[in-house]
Structure formats: C-alpha cells, structure tokens
Chain length 322, copies 2
C-alpha cells in the first residue's frame, strides 16, 4: 500500500479540517466537568477532536495515595515489573546509528518494583547514563500492577457509556522528566489521566500525517545493559525489518521538513495531575513530561477500540470534495 492520496486532496482536507472543526489556534479545548456522554460522543469522538477534562480524575484515591513512594512500595511488595531502558529517554524513536538512522526500541528488563522505582527516579538526573521508564502497554495496570488498580476507576464512566464498550487495556506509566515519546499514532481511543507530575502533549490530526514525513527505518534495539556503567548498546535487528515512523522531531525541528515548520503549530496541552486528556484514535502525539517533587511522572491510560468507526464513514468528506 502506497501513500495514495494526491497532494491537492490532502491540502483540501487539511485546510477544511482546520477551517470547519479544529481551528488554527493551537489550544486544545478544556472542559471544567466531564461532558455528558452524548455530547462527548458527538462533539469529540465522532468529530475526532481532542479535549482535556480538568480535574476529571481528581476524585481517584490514587491522586493522594500515589504521592507516597512507600504506599506504592507496600502495595507492589514482591511484584516484578518491566522497565524500559534507553540512553536518553527516547524509546521507539528515530535514532542515529553509524551514518544512518534506525528505529530504536528500549532494552526491557524485569525487576522488583522497589528497584524499578528507585531506578526511574535516580535516572531522571541528567548525569545518569540511561533513563528508565515503566511503560508496558499491555493492560499492565490490570496485570503487573493489579494491586494498584483499586486506586483508580475501572473505567471512565462517561467515556464507556459514549463509546459503548469497556476499555481493552488499562496501562500504568511511571517515568521521570527525561522520558520523551516521539510523534506516533495509536489505533484506539485514548483516555489519558495524569496522577502525578505533568505531561506535555503536542498533537496533530490524522489529516496532517503528511507534515510528519513518515519514512521507513530499519529497526534496532538497545541491548547489553551494563549495570556498572549504565551503558547500552544499540544493535540492528536481524533479519532487517523496516518500520514506518515520523521523522520530525518537534523539539528540534529541522528545516528539511518545511510542511511541518511552515504549517500551523501542533495543538498542545499540558495535562496536570487529576486532568484527563481525550486523544482520538489516529491522532499523532508527542509527549514530554515534568516530574512531581519526588522526581516521578505517573499516569494511567484507558484504550477503547471502536470497531464500527474504523471503516465506513471515511469517504463522507473525501467525496464531498468533488
């Protein structure tokens, strides 16, 4: 399958999406209260428009409980968790290797929760030769971290009602201020609640995929973590496997990506402790974070898959252009 939509149509769609729905100011809409489910479905999910619900998770027990490392330690006592290691906090991102570029995945290691938390916090220091991030996206809050699951809601009730389905996965993320997630998209509806610290999202709608210069890169993996020096070695995957990924780094955008640099700025929002971001499926997102006073950023996200959405309404507007 090739990129099969001609430039003229792309521009028509991109501009119309901005004109009719998204606007050109880079602010994400912020709601003071959870929306009624019908309004949420109509104005955000069906319209594929993100929003932040301020304080939407403030009533969770996790908000106060998880501020304490000893609470987490006690609850997770004896449990092993997966920790992702990279030299610079950038997992799943386009990375130099020799004179080329590759798509680099983290080195993943199982360890006791206490060791994981200590490693995440200490590696937030810029002098650390590696960055640790607990970010298994395999429903981990209902598996590895199930002893913490009672501290959050099992689902976001107004979202479940609107979407008509329970979350397929609920994930816990524990990181520090050095972790950064490169621009990518997910195929599910995402409700992203921050419990401690802050997450800074840059967002671009599916209509602006062409601005991110998706290219194919050979995949590589960090291996051979040296526990003494904290060094990691990057190795190409064999046999070669190509991964399509966004080339644009919004933190240091290169002028060789004019569609990114010259177009409207990405939408941005800061999701603070207690806020929930609704991130529609297929929206590109880049994430940086600011830690709490203990050096941690903790978040929970709910993934919902709306099968019936994924197909048929596509040409509603494409055909309206002709």
């Amino acid at each position: 399958m090739t990129m099969a939509v001609e430039e003229e149509t792309m521009i028509c769609l991109w501009k119309e999406a901005r004109d009719l729905s998204l606007g050109t100011t880079p602010h994400v809409e912020r709601l003071d209260h959870p929306p009624p489910s019908l309004r949420f479905l109509r104005e955000y999910v069906s319209s594929s428009k993100p929003c932040v619900i301020s304080g939407g998770a403030l009533h969770w027990p996790a908000i106060s409980r998880w501020s304490s490392d000893s609470y987490l330690s006690h609850a997770m006592s004896g449990h092993t968790v997966s920790v992702h290691h990279t030299p610079d906090g950038k997992a799943d991102s386009v990375t130099p290797i020799g004179d080329d570029l590759c798509f680099a995945s983290a080195f993943v290691k199982q360890m006791d929760f206490d060791e994981a938390l200590a490693r995440i916090i200490s590696s937030g220091d810029p002098s650390s030769p590696f960055v640790a991030y607990a970010q298994e996206q395999n429903d981990c809050l209902r598996s590895e971290y199930s002893s913490l699951f009672d501290d959050v809601e099992p689902d976001i009730p107004w979202a479940t009602e609107a979407l008509g389905c329970e979350p397929e996965a609920v994930n816990l993320w524990i990181g520090n201020g050095r972790s950064e997630t490169s621009f990518h998209k997910d195929h599910y509806e995402n409700l992203y609640a921050v419990v401690s610290g802050e997450k800074h999202f840059l967002l671009l709608p599916p209509t602006e995929q062409h601005r991110l210069y998706v290219r194919h890169f050979p995949s590589a993996q960090y291996t051979h973590f040296n526990p003494e020096t904290g060094e990691l070695k990057l190795e190409m995957e064999q046999p070669e496997r190509l991964v399509p990924w966004c080339t644009v780094d919004p933190v240091n955008p290169s002028s060789s990506f004019p569609l990114y640099c010259k177009g409207p700025k990405p939408f941005h929002c800061t999701v603070k402790a207690g806020d929930i971001l609704y991130l529609p499926s297929m929206w590109f997102h880049h994430v940086k974070q600011t830690p709490d006073c203990s050096g941690r950023v903790i978040a929970v996200n709910y993934c919902n898959i709306l099968y019936q959405y994924k197909s048929n309404h596509v040409f509603r507007h494409v055909t309206a252009c002709f």
Copy 2:
C-alpha cells in the same frame, strides 16, 4: 479537484467498509423501536450506516388524516404549490438528447393544491404523457405546506437529541408510482418518513462512489409544457453548465458499468407507511415508489446538517491503511 484516490486504496476502503461494518448482504438493518439517542449516534450516525425504524412515525396524526384527499384539500385550500413535470417521472437524471446525454431537470409550475393533487394522481396512469411530482426540497412543509405541519412531529426527537441540532429543512413529497429518483447523494443527515404508499430505496455507501461512474453532463431543462397534449420540450441550458452525476441506472444496468454489475448488490429497503429511514449523509440513493390505493405516495423528510462531522475524522481510517 480531480478524483484523487488511487484504485488500490479505493478497493482497500471499499472492502474494509463492507468487512468491518456494512457486510455484504444487501439488507438494511431494521429496528422495531426508535433507538436510544446515544446508540443511534454511535451505531448509525457516527458509523455512517443506514437503518429503518419500523413504525417510527405511526403515531403521527398524518398517518390517518392524509389518507383522505378531502382532508388535504381542505387544509391546503387557497394555497399554491410547486409541481415538477417530466415526461417519464425521471427528474434530475441523465437523459438522451439527440445523440448525446444531458442532465435533465423538471419543468416546475406553481398551481393550486387541488389542481396539483389531481395532476399527480392522474399522471400516475402510464398513458399520461407526463408525470407530476410535488417535491420542492426547500423546507416546503414549513412554508408552502405549513398548514399540514401540525400533522407530523416538528422533528424526530431521538434524532434531534443525537445529532444535537434541529432540522434545517422539513420537506413534503407527493408523487405517484411512476416517479423515480436517480442515484445521487445529499450532504445532510436524512430522516425519511413515509406517510402513505411505499418507497423502495437502493443504497450505496460513500466508499463505493466509483461504482456509479460519476461523469459530467451538460445541464438541460424541460420547458414549454403543453397543457393540451401534456408534452414537454427538453432544452439545453445556455451557456453550457456541466453537472457531475451518476451514470448507472440500476433499473436497467448496462454491462458497460462492470464495477456496478459485478460488485455486491446495493443495499435495499422498502419504507412503508409509518416507517422512518435513516439515510446517512453522502450515501448514494435511488428511489422508486408504489402508490397507496388512491394512487399517491406521500413522504416527509428531515434534513440535519452536522457541520463538525464533515471534515476531520476523514483520515482516521485512510491513514490506518498504511
């Protein structure tokens, strides 16, 4: 703007829309009760999937009252209405003119309602040299026919709640068994209630536009209605104006349209008196009708425009293909 999506992508989308959402059986889903608004929004509007609500308008006073010509006559006494005249019941359709084809529009004439109704009923006879059809789509049930508006609901409550907006237009249609509407699409969400007689819809989703061979035809208009003979003359519009229209006639499909003939059959449904069809925006529809025992087919449709839908979610799935 050209048809800018390559064949391979079209086929991918067409097949996926069928596989994931619409299915390949040609039946339109039928509901026994009006759906809760949240379900209607999620499963039909947002999914761009038609459905018929059996008996959804059976409680309207119009269902019994409009079966009587004298009731209509009395209510509309002294009112003038617009009547569309064609030689064969086919208005707004691709029609031969000399050795060529044109896009032919009806001859429209204002007349007293009584005369209009008599003309519509009598021209249902195959011996009539013309076919009359009252089908002004300019919110006519709230203007020309406002004295009948109290006999129906001002809107379809569960649809208005789901769509979050009042209808932009409410139209009345009074025709006979010879009127036929060629394949076309509308830009609004359509709720189509039959009050008397039956309407037979053929439906194709927006993803299958390519199967209808949309081409540009010079527009023409029926003029010079001869009240003695009932004959009409077809005249090209000057200066020439090209109209894009579907070439396929599903009643006599030509083998020169293989994408239509060899693909899955169009969805079809018969909407009986008291039923409501939800027809999503941008779906292609072709309509034939069967009259009631008095020779009439009467219907009311509600047009809702969902601005926020028309743009941004388009690429959700297009980009999912890559």
